[in-house]
Symmetry: C2
Subunit: 166 residues, 2 copies
């Protein structure tokens, strides 16, 4: 099996693909509301693209069956960014590959995000759809609405199997 | 005391102020990712306004001390919408008043949002800053960055006290 081992998500490792949305990563943080609240400011490059607008949706991802996850395809959104922020719950998996006309199987990377980490995928970055966790869970998604085709799908010539064991 | 009794948040009651961001409220929902995920599509009118862009931040609101909350001021953002989505946790409080030059004390409304409900406050709608819960908690915030002053604050001539008792 062509195993793909996830590594911990952090902003530097994820930089080629987009942003990590987390409180700790804020370049700018400051106190607001008379000191009752800290604002971690502007955590992602939201790019609705030409002729598009940023929209907010919820993705409800059903629980998986616990069997190993095989990565057979990837998708990309050339016209806009797409952010995923878990609405509660524990760690979750992210699978990405660099932008380009195709996806080289050995260029695919997997990350384990903490439950308090979201991501923002830059336009054109290949990624796998949400990977089911042990339980059903919701993600807030910020992506693009607008004219033009905005989802390319590619079938992989070499499949990868996520290695999430100890 | 001039008590203000919160009522349950629902999209119809909140319509004069903006949107409720919740899975159940989606006018459009459909299956994606080969049926593993439901997309609750386009849940809020995100309005970055002229010359602005939508940005994503995290607000970390410290725990309150449990004493009754007095509403002494309100604020508004005339140039853009502002969305708050809790990142886990239970119910939380929302205090709003209709747009206009001033805030009539008896026009203020309070809502109890469930932990799986966010809100999007329309441009110009008066609202109180985040009200501390019993524990520190994080909210994803989607609002506006751009030129121009975008925060008006008004001191209330008549204070209201949030009545959150049984």
């Amino acid at each position: 099996m062509n195993l793909l081992r996830p590594r911990p998500l952090d902003p530097r490792a994820f930089a080629p693909y987009g942003d990590v949305i987390e409180a700790g990563a804020a370049a700018h943080r400051y106190e607001i509301n008379e000191g009752t609240t800290t604002r971690f400011h502007d955590l992602a490059r939201i790019e609705p693209g030409r002729g598009g607008r940023a929209i907010v949706s919820i993705f409800r991802c059903r629980a998986g069956d616990g069997s190993p996850v095989t990565i057979r395809m990837m998708e990309r959104h050339p016209r806009g960014s797409q952010a995923f922020v878990p609405l509660g719950g524990g760690p979750w998996l992210v699978v990405v590959a660099p932008p380009g006309e195709t996806v080289a199987a050995d260029a695919i990377e997997a990350f384990v995000a903490r439950g308090d980490q979201g991501i923002n995928i830059a336009p054109g970055v290949w990624h796998h759809p949400l990977i089911p966790s042990a339980v059903e869970r919701d993600f807030l998604v910020i992506d693009r609405d607008g004219e033009g085709e905005n989802c390319d799908v590619i079938e992989l010539s070499v499949e990868r199997v996520l290695d999430t064991g100890p």
